[in-house]
Amino acid sequence: MTLATIIENLGLEVKSASGDLTHEITGAYVSDLLSDVMANSKEGQLWVTLQVHPNIVAVATLKDLAGIILVNGREAEKETIERAEEEKIPLMTTRLATFQLAGKLYGLLGEC
């Protein structure tokens, strides 16, 4: 399933789309601990978090993640969006809380 399809299905608001939205999404990782994401997320996964500072883009870049979804209606900092544009990391937001979003995402992607 492509990121564009997920965005449409979950009604995500796209904050930065300079990256590749046609990317096949292989799974997702949910965590707010950056070191945990560094250690355990996998290339090509979507990352669900409530952290909004620019460093999340660095983590996503370093791990070759497919994109970041910010939950709970949290707004990304201006610099976070700028960096996402620069590094071509798709950045999305949702009003849903982590639990709801992860559930819906699991429904779409299954166990991967």
Binding site: L34, S35, M38, A39, H53, P54, A58, L62, K63, E87
Partner: protein, 315 residues
């Protein structure tokens, strides 16, 4: 790339690329009220075979070199363009895929098509066969270039260097407490290694270890320096700071042990997993620290046949 594959790639591209991505937007036009004689300079100087005739922004016709020659042979060069142009012009929309343009070129045998906006019908460009070929070549070149970079391996990079011993050194300054710039060193090093053609698996391990080392400097110290040394055999990363130092390294190495303040933890850092992550990624790890003086971390990842042995080499 074999011929069959090349054709498939081009076929794929003509569906993917839109007319407005390859058309020329800087279009030379004439008014229907121009004289045919005024076309001479235009057709000759610009070496074009046909000019769109535009009134306001609306395309009203096309006047070709044939129209001009005919007019010339009839000796009626004081005719208005309006009276000699062809009015039923075949046009393309700007958002159509290239394959439509290719079909029209095949079917009509014309040299060029005016392109109009689907929104307001205004003339927005002109497309020729040449534009299509250039557009396709450019795209294929980009794709090929990406593939080439992908193939370029570190071994080749070093093969080009003639020396008994080669070490490439990349140095980065890390600013303490500056979270907005944090991560730049590891991102920069990652990009550099990728350009050198280091295998992605190795790069990922170096990137994670360097990121954690960088974050430690940002969170706990007033700044430091990260140096990467690349040889044909291994990549060595050294992170040095003059921060507060680590009182108990053994304890610091325990997963989950953290001395990070709450506000740092709220940002998602300081989970006590940094050094654990570093150890997992590195083939060897060496950490030394003096309280009040600073900390020096050195890790290495082997490049050839990398066997990861957890030597627990820290003291």
């Amino acid at each position: 790339m074999d011929a069959e594959k090349a054709i498939t790639k081009v076929q794929e591209l003509v569906y993917e690329i839109k007319v407005n991505q390859v058309m020329v937007t800087d279009v030379i036009t004439v008014s229907p009220h121009n004289l045919m004689s005024e076309l001479r300079v235009l057709l000759h100087d610009k070496r074009i075979s046909g000019v769109p005739v535009v009134e306001g922004t609306t395309l009203v016709g096309l006047v070709s070199i044939e129209d001009f020659v005919k007019c010339l042979s009839e000796g009626k060069m004081n005719n208005l363009v309006r009276d000699r142009m062809s009015r039923d012009v075949i046009t393309l929309y700007d958002d159509e895929p290239l394959v439509r343009a290719v079909q029209e070129f095949d079917r009509r045998g014309y040299g060029r098509f005016p392109v109009i906006s689907r929104e307001n019908g205004a003339l927005v460009g002109v497309i020729t066969k040449g534009d299509i070929i250039r557009g396709l070549l450019k795209r294929i070149e980009i794709d090929y270039h990406e593939e080439e970079i992908h193939r370029y391996r570190a071994s080749y990079f070093f093969e080009d260097i003639i020396a008994d011993k080669t070490t490439l050194i990349f140095q980065y300054k890390v600013t303490g407490k500056d979270f907005s710039r944090a991560g730049r060193t590891s991102s920069g090093l990652k990009k550099t290694l990728r350009r050198m053609g280091i295998p992605p698996k190795i790069i990922r391990r170096i990137a994670i270890a360097t990121y954690e080392a960088e974050m430690n400097i940002v969170v706990f110290t007033d700044g430091g320096e990260i140096t990467a040394q690349v040889t044909p055999r291994e990549i060595r990363v050294e992170a040095v700071d003059s921060g507060p130092g680590i009182p108990d390294i053994k304890k610091a190495m325990e997963p989950g042990f953290s001395t990070a303040p709450d506000w740092v933890r709220d940002l998602g850092f300081g989970a006590g997993m940094g050094l654990t992550n570093i150890r997992k990624c590195a083939d060897t790890m060496h950490l030394e620290s003096t309280v009040g003086k600073g900390t020096r971390l050195e890790i290495a990842v082997q490049l050839n046949g990398a066997v990861k042995h957890d030597s627990g080499d820290h003291h």
